[in-house]
């Protein structure tokens, strides 16, 4: 949704489609083997940024949730993380709320979830939790970005 689906997500939100979108942001393309994603951190090494992501070639980490929160069609947008137990509980609550919005036909909800990819990041699961906390949250701060469902 941050690259190949950008056009479609913008217009789906703009139409206020009654959908729930769960956006797993682990800063890489995990399924295809760890290539750069639009949300890859500056300096982060991936299989297609062997020297670390540089703005000159690859631009900046894209804050899709902030971008979509500017649209009037969006109902509820929150960014969560799953790096510790407290945040996992918050994420569950956010996802539940998003689906409740959909059941209540309130419109488009997005829950962005900062997630680990220890395999493609090349670090241990514990280190990957630390990375989310120390690095990713600086660029992708947690919190409610939009909530007009209440």
């Amino acid at each position: 949704m941050a690259a190949i689906g950008t056009a479609e997500i913008v217009h789906a939100v703009n139409r206020g489609e009654n959908l729930t979108f769960i956006f797993v942001n682990n800063a890489v393309y995990g399924m295809t083997g760890g290539q750069m994603a639009p949300t890859t951190m500056l300096g982060q090494k991936t299989t297609t940024t062997p020297y670390g992501r540089e703005t000159k070639e690859a631009g900046y980490p894209l804050r899709v949730s902030e971008m979509l929160a500017t649209l009037d069609g969006a109902c509820y947008i929150e960014r969560c993380a799953v790096n510790n137990a407290a945040n996992v509980i918050k994420t569950k609550k956010a996802i539940k709320k998003a689906f409740q919005n959909q059941i209540d036909k309130k419109g488009f909800s997005i829950v962005e979830v900062l997630s680990q990819c220890p395999t493609n990041w090349g670090v241990t699961p514990i280190k990957s939790n630390e990375y989310i906390e120390k690095e990713m949250m600086k660029i992708f701060p947690l919190g409610v970005l939009k909530d007009k469902g209440n």
Partner: protein, 352 residues
Amino acid sequence: MADKVLMKGNQAIAEAAVQANCEFYAGYPITPQNEIPEYMSKRMYDLGRVFIQSESELAAINMVFGASAAGARAMTSSSSPGISLKQEGISYIAAAELPCVIVNMVRGGPGLGNISGAQSDYFQSTRGGGHGDYRLIVLAPSSVQEAYDLTMNAFDLADIYRNPVMILGDGYLGQMIEPLELKEYKKPANLPAKDWALTGCKGRKPHVVKTLYLIPPELLIKHNIHLQEKYGRIKKEFCLYEEAETKDAELIIVAYGIAARVCKGAVLKARKEGIKVGLLRPITLWPFPEKIISDLADKAKRFLVVEMSMGQMVDDVRLAVNGKKPVEFFGNAGGWMPSSDMILDKIKELKL
């Protein structure tokens, strides 16, 4: 003597592109061809050339359109679903008569299918693929070495004919590791100057690269006739194939790419048992080696087409044989790969 190295098919294609002075690569990740953009992300960066991981396949092919219009040697790569996405851009590039190289490491379809190798994009590749009357030159390697060699040729052919050239491999070829001789690229003497490229028109008449021919309507008819004349010229000048044991063969197997390699094994086994069988392997899928097939149809008794699809090239073989002899088909789709024993059984089943 050049160095020999062990390389994956995908890496060999990427290195060949680098050697052939590819100046611009744009692509978007998709399995089983990711080693191409991954390799290019390092090699092109080190050489100060352009590597872009685009936001989509559509973006990548249109970036190649732009780079090519500006005179750069440009390439993109993908696998089946991604190549489908690129078709609009490919049609535009063919219409604008721009050179570029497009690599398709085919995977099982339709839809997202799977990530196994397959040969089910034959129709799409050899009939143009997008809208309008156009053709791509389609090269189908069957080994890592041939993938390397043909990729170099692809850039030259693209420049000579001002036409997109497709390397049609498959997931198996892309992932397979084989010894590779890293031959040096030799620029052919007959490469035309890019006197149509958009390089800034200060002090000269502007060049025009376009695909829209609205008024008068005759303009588009004229453009299509011009394109067809070019495709006719390509067909006359250029066709590659490999023959094995065809001289006295009563049964001719026709197969391309990785399937042809398996068939070759089956032919050699059958020959040991005294069965008169030969192999014709088209290397160019367009232009299709129809003349040699027609000639073989005068001598042989029967044809067997083997494809890792439900039967696509078999149509072209039937057109070339033109009813002279029966043409059988053996194949399956969705990542299926025949063994040489399966082909051997099929040969025996046909009871020569």
